[in-house]
């Protein structure tokens, strides 16, 4: 099976659903032995220097993008890339189509829910608020027996 590998650099957080990637090169090759599409290992003809900055790749034939977890020089002119599927990026469109109960969110939140998000300092603020009025006078009261 012939397929194309896009050699890339991922500039985004690993947990970002849609990645900002930079295409470094494109390689065409053939599957010569058993290969996992979840954790593929690619043997690429090339110099190690050309791949030291690679942390991402995409194989459209597999329908997936991958994190490069390890770069190994097999021998001179042969580099091995050990990859693991980036499930978020590979299935971003389908993930976005799903509905979920959200526990925390950057922009849509309800601060009346207490989940221990906020920390406080150990020295609280003590505030006093006086009522508008109180007891303002003093008068005698004399109680006499009889009417």
């Amino acid at each position: 099976m012939a397929f194309e590998i896009l050699i890339q650099r991922n500039n985004s957080e690993n947990n970002r659903v849609t990645k900002d990637v930079t295409l470094l090169s494109t390689i065409e090759g053939t599957l010569r032995q058993e290969t996992s599409i979840i954790d593929p290992v690619f043997l690429i003809a090339g110099d190690l220097d050309d791949y030291v900055g690679v942390n991402y790749c995409t194989v459209d034939s597999f329908g997936r993008s991958y994190f490069v977890n390890n770069i190994r020089s097999v021998r001179s002119g042969l580099v091995e890339l050990t990859c693991h599927v980036d499930v978020l990026s590979s299935f971003a469109q389908q993930i976005r189509a799903n509905t979920a109960i959200i526990r925390r969110q950057e922009n849509q939140w309800n601060l009346y829910l207490n989940d221990g998000t906020f920390r406080v300092y150990q020295n609280p603020t003590v505030l006093t608020k006086a009522f508008p009025s109180g007891f303002t006078t003093q008068e005698f009261v004399l109680a006499i027996a009889g009417s």
Partner: protein
């Protein structure tokens, strides 16, 4: 007495070897009994409504225990049955005496020669059950006497292990040998006639002789009869069930098979309406209405004039009322109150009906209202930090002191404080209205008594000393316990283990007059440590249902049912883990 329903579930020979399974109608039993049968004996329910209990699941040694255990359990619910009493030997003897004419032996398997013989009219049957379909009644144990064979039997019951033994001896007939019938009878029933009856799981063995026991299994009742043969080739095992009813699902025995459960709930009215509790009106009936006392509201100059008069020598004893021994007794009390006394008419002060020539303004009412106004308590954050247990509130009330109040009661509401004062006794009640309802009422003492006699002076001083003593005892009462963890995240926003400290004691009377005259709230609010862009790194609490495509930024998912994602099961699990751990859209 409810009918006792028996069923057979297996037939074994005298050596406890299985003979055959027994099936019987499901309709015989209550739902509780069916559950017991199914759970305890791995029974299956046939399509024809019959129950099949496989023999190999039956543990004879445990069945009696199960019966005993369950009987004792059922006994608590079914008062018709009594447990084995501690003096069962005596009861057994009485029962045997009643039923068997004196044949008895207690607590031993040792045969005892009968002290008296039976009669020809005693039935042959070892156990007799009256049958009504599948229901059996009046099960009793009767001595078997075969007059023709001149057999006489004596029975004994070892209730320590529930083994009943029957010894028969005699001459003539087909059976010459002695034999012992053994039956496990783990429980006792008092029948309608008040007789104690014994029944239960019976395992009857015979040895020697040619006597045996068989059961008429087709009609589901047991009877004993003898047939020839070297050994008894059949043995009846009967298991009694209680006359139970379906278990109350709210009264489940934790050690039992459980009861019926069902769905429910969610049918509340969801009515959030309540009733406003307003500040009450002042009392209408006062002490002055009775005419026995008059309340004056004198000025300082008028009080000085009266004091001078009371020490004057011009006093007409003839006019002075005989109920008073001392003119000073006519003055019931003099006090200072911190309120505007409602003015009545001007009247002459009469001491013991003797006019003093001093005119003072009377008090138009015994009760006075003091409105301290309303305070709006606003949220600081508009977040959970504004509420308990993070923010705390106390209220200082003049002539009462400082008391803690729940900040949840006042946050975001208008708080209104009103005093009702009794100028005669000096008692005052402070009402704290939170929103539309009075949630707090505190009582205090707001008048300062002025001593006019030596006793008055002593009482005033002692009163102040007792208040001072109570103040001294009101020290810090220790720290509040840390609040419980919120969800799976220990709340870090609580100032844990901070002690609560009394901010004042009882500020009554003279002490209150020297205290602060305006009520105020004391709010203790945490100081938030909020790093820049925390919401971008950790998100803020949400708990909404949302389509993920509408979200931007950091997101943690509480729960999701992923669908229409063409990923492997491992990938799907990884997606869910990542979403719950936090992703960025």
């Amino acid at each position: 007495m409810p009918g006792l329903r028996f069923f057979t579930f297996g037939v074994y020979d005298y050596q406890y070897n299985y003979v055959t399974d027994i099936t019987f109608s499901v309709t015989t039993f209550t739902a509780f009994e069916l559950a017991t049968i199914k759970n305890e004996w791995q029974a299956t329910f046939g399509t024809d409504g019959r129950i099949v209990i496989p023999y190999n699941t039956l543990d004879l040694t445990d069945c009696g225990q199960f019966i005993r255990q369950n009987f004792l359990t059922w006994n608590s619910r079914h008062p018709y049955f009594i447990p084995l009493p501690s003096d069962y030997n005596t009861i057994w003897e009485e029962a045997i005496t009643d039923n068997f004419g004196g044949f008895y032996n207690s607590n031993a398997l040792v045969p005892v020669l009968p002290t008296s013989g039976g009669t020809a009219d005693r039935p042959r049957k070892m156990f007799y059950l009256s049958q009504d379909g599948d229901t059996f009644y009046n099960f009793g144990l009767e001595v078997w006497i075969n007059e023709a064979d001149k057999y006489r039997g004596v029975s004994s019951l070892n209730l320590a292990d529930g083994i009943f033994s029957y010894y028969q001896s005699g001459t003539g007939g087909n059976n010459q040998e002695d034999y012992i019938w053994q039956a496990h009878l783990p429980y006792v029933v008092v029948n309608d006639a008040g007789q104690i009856q014994l029944f239960g799981m019976c395992i009857m063995t015979g040895y020697g002789g040619s006597q045996g026991l068989a059961s008429n299994l087709t009609t589901n009742y047991a009877s004993a009869f003898y047939e020839s043969g070297p050994v008894p080739d059949g043995m009846l095992i009967m298991l009694r069930t209680a006359e139970g009813t379906d278990e109350d699902p709210t009264d489940t025995d934790p050690f039992g098979p459980g009861g019926n459960t069902g769905t429910g709930g969610g049918t509340g009215t969801f009515s959030g309406t309540g009733d406003a509790i307003s500040i009450p009106s002042l009392p209408t009936l006062s002490a002055t209405s009775a005419g026995f006392i008059t309340l004056f509201n004198p000025s300082v100059a008028q009080m000085a004039s009266l004091a001078a008069y009371m020490w004057t020598g011009a006093f007409d004893l003839n006019t002075f009322r005989k109920i008073f021994a001392d003119p000073m007794d006519c003055i019931l009390g003099l006090s200072i109150v911190p309120v505007d006394v409602p003015a009545g008419s001007s009247a002459e002060v009469k001491v013991g009906n003797i006019g003093t020539g001093i005119y003072m303004t009377t008090a138009a009412s015994q009760y006075v209202e003091v409105d301290c106004g309303t305070l709006d308590v606003e949220e600081f954050w508009g977040a959970y930090l504004d509420y308990e247990p993070f923010t705390k509130a106390e209220i200082y009330l003049p002539y009462i002191g400082t008391h803690p109040i729940a900040v949840d009661d006042i946050m975001g509401k208008s708080v209104h404080v009103v005093y009702h004062v009794d100028i005669l006794s000096g008692a005052c009640v402070a009402y704290v209205q939170c929103g539309s309802s009075v949630l707090y009422s505190f009582i205090g003492q707001c008048s300062s008594s002025i001593p006019i006699t030596g006793n008055d002076w002593t009482n005033v001083v002692n009163g102040v000393l007792s208040i001072a003593g109570s103040i001294g005892s009101m020290v810090a009462t220790g720290g509040a316990s840390a609040p419980a963890a919120v969800g799976s995240i220990v709340s870090t926003a609580v100032n844990q283990m901070k002690p609560s400290v009394e901010k004042s004691g009882s500020l009554s009377g003279t002490g209150g007059m020297m205290g602060i005259q305006v009520p105020y709230l004391i709010l203790t609010r945490p100081r938030q440590a909020l790093p820049a862009k925390q919401n971008a790194y950790t998100g803020y609490p949400s708990f909404i249902t949302s389509n993920l495509g509408t979200l931007t930024g950091y997101t943690e998912v509480e729960e999701i049912h992923l669908e229409n994602v063409p990923a492997t099961s491992g990938e799907l699990a990884e997606i869910i883990n990542l979403l719950k751990g936090g992703v960025i859209f």
